[in-house]
């Protein structure tokens, strides 16, 4: 049983399927239906689906472009008949012609859309020339196994030349046999359904407990029970993984937003309220790089997220250095005043960007590596944009660690963080270190903006969302420790994700914040505090 089952559609489909074998395809009527009202379009879609399963090779070749054209609103209906607008061919005769003046491009209703998607995939599975296209078509069919017309998969398997794909088609055919009459086929179907555990599969399988065969046939009952147990286990694993993954992805965002802040805070005791705006500017620089590539090197457009890395880092680092030199340097030992000063900077930057770029969300290309996701197990889907952020966070963490641990600048930063006066005494140019470290922290914020642009909407306000969260990470982690920042981000991210499904997003946020406030009462210096004599 599936929630996609549309009983009326199915019965209609069966009727047509049995009738179609007798009569040859009435192409003119089909095109007329495609241009008709919602009901007629639905019939036409079902007819196309039937052609894919049972039609002759010529009919299939003729029908192949139609479903796709309807989906893309590329079918122009005029008085005569209809035109495939993209190719400039008559839909019926395939003679080249232009649509009439009053041509209308019908829009498939949501219900019909689903039928046409299926028909398009079915036709592609049987007649597309590229293996990749056939594989993609099979993926679409897999989403709605109950609606695949009888005979389609068998016919497709018979003519499939690619061995791997044929295996996949057979597997799908087995799954589709769940409601067949042969108990052995059903048991095989159960086993193959259990291969891919999901809630949907569970719903389908557990519905079988009310099947007559469940009571009468022991083998079948065992198979059903085994399948549900296996699916349940799969779902449990999937849920656990999903929680971990979601937590990790949220943590990576928190980490990216906070790491720059942590370095600056640790070093100078300055809470940089403009950090969120530097993130925003990083995202805007990324956008500018994208726009530049669009004109200068369109072939590299997909890689703008990678190519923008140096630009995002350098521009924000430069802004950070400018802030430090022009403002914060003069507020040495006045951390609360520098807090206000950076707030002014944040106000200024938001409004500057607003005036220059406007308030609308920026438009980003979505390259293949940050779009979509792969189902792993159960209901766990591995989404690429999150993965990008996670990977980016890990790379950033590694690089930051290397800079702080392995470079002279890092050594100086650590020295000044631990004891500013002593560092100054042994000849470390503390002002210069401040400047460079502020640049580094700001540059990291710019990178955060780059990494977050595939996840969040980019507009002048976007930085505001990160302020409180990233503060919390920094103070929870403890002043100026990278490890503290990582642990705090992971902790906050994971706890948030665990609470959210229980009490909702607002409560999760409130609870996490209250936990942090309480924790800081207990350990005011954060998780990784360095103890010392009275300052």
């Amino acid at each position: 049983m599936s929630f996609w089952r549309l009983p009326i559609l199915l019965s209609c489909l069966l009727l047509l399927a049995s009738g179609a074998q007798a009569a040859p395809l009435d192409r003119a009527a089909l095109v007329a239906d495609l241009c008709g009202d919602a009901g007629q379009m639905g019939q036409a879609g079902t007819a196309l689906l039937d052609v894919a399963a049972n039609g002759s090779a010529e009919d299939r070749a003729w029908a192949a472009p139609l479903a796709g054209a309807v989906l893309a609103r590329g079918l122009a209906c005029d008085e005569e008949s209809a035109v495939l607008a993209e190719a400039g061919l008559d839909a019926l005769t395939r003679a080249p012609r232009e649509p009439g003046d009053k041509a209308r491009k019908p829009l498939a209703s949501l219900k019909n859309r689903s039928v046409f998607q299926l028909a398009d995939a079915a036709l592609a599975l049987r007649s597309a020339s590229a293996v990749g296209a056939r594989e993609a078509a099979l993926k679409t069919l897999e989403r709605k196994p109950s609606q695949i017309p009888d005979g389609l998969l068998e016919a497709a398997a018979a003519s499939e030349t690619d061995a791997g794909l044929r295996e996949q088609i057979d597997a799908l055919a087995q799954t589709a046999a769940l409601n067949a009459s042969d108990p052995a086929a059903r048991i095989r179907a159960l086993a193959s359904i259990a291969e891919n555990p999901s809630r949907r599969a569970l719903t389908k399988v557990s519905a079988l407990t009310s099947d007559p065969a469940y009571a009468s046939n022991d083998d079948f009952r065992r198979a059903v029970d085994a399948a549900s147990a296996r699916i349940e286990r799969g779902i449990a694993i999937g849920d656990a993984l999903a929680t971990l993954y979601n937590g990790l992805s949220f943590a990576s965002i928190l980490f990216m937003a906070a790491i720059g802040l942590a370095i600056i805070f640790g070093l100078m005791g300055v809470i940089n309220l403009a950090q969120g705006e530097l993130i925003m500017i990083g995202a805007y620089v990324t956008w500018l790089v994208q726009q530049g590539l669009r004109y200068a090197a369109p072939s590299l457009l997909d890689w703008y997220l990678v190519l923008a890395i140096p630009a995002a880092f350098l521009v924000t680092a430069a802004i950070g250095i400018a802030i430090e030199v022009s403002l914060l340097r003069h507020l040495y030992r006045r951390p609360l005043m520098s807090l206000l000063a950076t707030w002014a900077v944040s106000l200024f930057l938001i409004n500057l960007v607003r005036v220059v770029f406007g308030t609308q969300n920026l438009q980003f290309e979505t390259p293949f590596y940050v779009s979509g996701g792969v189902p792993v197990i159960g209901d766990f889907i591995f989404t690429w944009n999150r993965m990008f952020a996670i990977a980016f966070a890990i790379v950033t963490l590694t690089l930051t660690w290397l800079v702080v641990r392995k470079t002279p600048l890092g050594l100086n930063i650590r020295a000044v963080t631990q004891n500013r006066d002593m560092a100054a005494c042994i000849g470390i140019p503390t002002r210069r270190v401040d400047m460079m470290a502020f640049g580094l922290g700001s540059g990291l914020a710019g990178l955060a903006g780059l990494a977050l642009s595939p996840i969040y909407s980019v507009n002048p306000q976007m930085g505001q969302n990160f302020i409180i969260d990233s503060f919390m990470v920094v103070v929870l982690g403890g002043v100026g420790t990278i490890a503290g920042t990582v642990v705090a981000a992971l902790g906050i991210g994971q706890i948030n994700v665990l609470i959210e499904p229980l009490w909702g997003a607002v409560a999760a946020k409130v609870i996490v914040l209250l936990m942090i406030i309480a924790f800081l009462q207990w350990r005011p210096e954060g998780l990784f505090a360095v103890k010392g004599r009275r300052k």
């Binding site: 360095v530 103890k531 010392g532 004599r533 009275r534």
Partner: protein, 242 residues
């Protein structure tokens, strides 16, 4: 034998992996001026921090007046019991006048008035002692370094403490100022008062101290009079060997 003002027993303090004080025991009697000396990082200031309640030790105890455990009590409670301390870095309140400092030091209370005759007398007395009477209405922020040192001494002195701890009272002072400070400290010596001085200036220590404790790496290296300190090979090794 004079009564023990402070008894430090088996004291240990750690900062992370650094052992600031390591199983230190020490007794300071009423009526004596005790100097605590030692190289940087020997644990001198940390010792004062523990006694004044700022730092909590990992283990060990500190008995005041021979009976009262003061480890674990608040700084304020310890101070009210009669243990007062001048900090290494002159710690004065920049926004207050000299007179206000002494008055705050003399009388512990939130509500009491500043201008009662008894308090005014005491303030005047202390101001004379630390020779700041002519600066009584100046803001502390405007004083010279030496005057700040004296002001702080005056502030801790004002309450007639039983234990007076001075952390580097002559650091950064001119010779003449050091001289004056030395005579001030000697003048403060009383049978019912113990004075602990942490100092690097050996001449100053020699002038004021009855006994000297040398700390090294958180332990007592030597205890005795200044002459014997100078003669002790271990002390010489610690001071000159590195």
């Amino acid at each position: 034998m004079a009564m023990t003002a402070l008894l430090v027993d088996g004291l240990s303090v750690r900062f992370g992996s650094f052992q600031a004080i390591d199983d230190l025991s020490l007794a300071i009697d009423y009526g004596e001026v005790r100097a605590v000396i030692g190289p940087n990082g020997a644990g001198k200031t940390t010792l004062l921090d523990v006694i004044s309640g700022i730092t909590r030790p990992k283990q060990g105890r500190v008995l005041f007046d021979g009976a009262h455990e003061i480890v674990g009590r608040s700084e304020a409670a310890i101070a009210r019991a009669g243990i007062r301390r001048k900090f290494q870095k002159p710690s004065v309140f920049e926004g207050l006048s000299v007179r206000q400092h002494i008055a705050i030091g003399a009388d512990v209370g939130f509500r009491s008035r500043l201008d009662t005759p008894a308090l005014e007398d005491r303030v005047g007395e202390v101001l004379e002692t630390v020779r700041l009477a002519d600066k009584a209405d100046a803001l502390a922020g405007a004083l010279s370094h030496g005057q700040k040192q004296w002001l702080e001494i005056g502030m801790v002195l004002a309450s007639e403490p039983k234990v007076l701890m001075l952390d580097e009272p002559v650091a950064g002072l001119t010779d003449e100022e050091t001289e004056r400070t030395a005579s001030l400290v000697r003048a403060l010596k009383r049978p019912d008062r113990a004075i602990v001085v942490v100092e690097h200036d050996m001449d100053f220590v020699e002038r004021i101290a009855d006994r000297v404790t040398v700390l090294h790496e958180g332990r007592t290296l030597f205890e005795g009079s200044m002459d014997r300190v100078r003669a002790d090979p271990a002390v010489v090794e610690v001071y000159l060997g590195r």
